[in-house]
Amino acid sequence: MFALIDCNNFYASCERVFRPDLNGKPVVVLSNNDGCVIARSNEAKAIGIPMGAPAFEYEKFFRQHGVQVFSANFALYGDMSNRVMTILSDYSPEMEIYSIDECFLKLKGFDFFNLQAYGEDMRCKVTKWTGIPISVGIAPTKALAKVANRIAKKYPTETKGTYIIDSEDKRIKALKWLKVEDVWGIGRQHSKRLNAAGVKTAFDFTQLDDDFVKKQMSIVGLRLKLDLQGIPTLDLEEMQIKKNIATTRSFETNYTEYEQLAERISTFASSCAEKLRKQNSCCNSIMVFIHTNGHRKDLQQYSRNIIIKLPYPTNSSIELAKFATQALQKIFKQGYAYKKAGVIVQDFSQADSLQQTLFENRDKRHIPLMQAIDKLNLLFGQQKIRLASQDTKRVWKMKQQKLSPRYTTNLNDIITINL
């Protein structure tokens, strides 16, 4: 059996742990730069705020309905997620953290357990210890555990937050209840096509011919179908180290000058280099892209990316900024208003097991230099030490007008207790 545990309205719930006055009130959390709604409490869903609602369009609506709005506080959410996952990891030796608020547990050898009680115990403990409400779905396969979780979340009182699919009747009933577009892994395109072919529910989907599914949705779709039929085909996935690291940003205004872009690219490259050093990797190739604002049909459009192979693997900010700037020179064109740019580093090798090359141009002095920079930045705050090619006055600032305190990660931000 597999269990899927999912935190209910995770970001909104994190905010509420430290603001219990918001229980029962509509709460939304906005994306980076306060762009659009990325999390909603049940009350916010009930008054019709859609996922992805642009914050500026809804400003008046929020005020009229007394919606509490927060900027995304990822320091807080990351810490709370860690706590939830640590508690849940005690329930099985095999766990896959699927996202910040979801994980699978493999319940192998739990045949004689009362799984309903086991799930309720998880829910009880996580809620009491962290304040985060969760839902538990248990079933013979991962895809069915997802379905069971959905039922638990939809009917919290009837299911006590835990639903188990452990019979053929329950499986069929659940799949007939679930719309095909809500099935895990079936995207909008596929569900549109399936709907057109008369497939309305998850059950209809499992009645399709194997070859048809494989042809339409490849082997991935077929595995999903088998999983929904109760035949375990998807197993827990091992944690992987990142295969590429990206730093990309939209600019607050359009950039037209090469120097402006070069400064940004240089900054993105050194940010990538810092992330590489954190996981003790070097990269062997680097991609740089720039593009204009696609929404502005009135402007000339241009978008280009370039991948360059590095002469030797590196994670030095200086070297990566240099290579990234060279790449930018190749693709930059005068006369366009650029809105977004990014640097993606890829093709990693372990920093401590690098091959020696005969004609090595790498400057070995960078290694201790980068260590010193990382240490200083850790002590004195992000980006205190920068490359001269970066703007020294500029501070990374996201629009976060409604940011809550970092209650759990900064001693100056902890809750105040009035005695």
Binding site: P20, R83, M95, K128, W129, M239, I415, I417, L419
Partner: protein
Amino acid sequence: MPNGNKQITSLKLHNGNIIDIFSADTETVLALPYVDNGISAGFPSPALDFVDLSIDLNRHLIKNPSATFYGRVKGDSLKNAGISNGDLLIIDRSLEPTNGKIAVCYIDGEFTAKRIQISKKEILLIPENENYQPIRVTEENNFLIWGIVTHVIKDV
């Protein structure tokens, strides 16, 4: 396997058994004292047999990290319990609120801490300062017990 222990390879033995080789889990860090008195032919340090792990307050003050939070005190209603303005409280949410414990509660829009007295008909929040009266929690109050105070850290 949970994160960390990755299977590297399987070895097949001549008798047909298979041994799976896993990499060690190196996710956690345990600081060990480094004892280096060199290698010498002389008399070894007699203190070597008595090397301890260093004292880690986290281990002593925080029994359950996943459920532990911190709070800063403002006010003096618990002064006789040794809790004063500006102190840092360690709060464990996993503990059961029982009579006599000091609990962090949320009441009518703010966090407070008091000694709790729970009976069938009511909950009393009892201060530790002559100048304050106990608070009787009724159904009208928006009230919840948030966690239990386990330790106080104060500057001296």
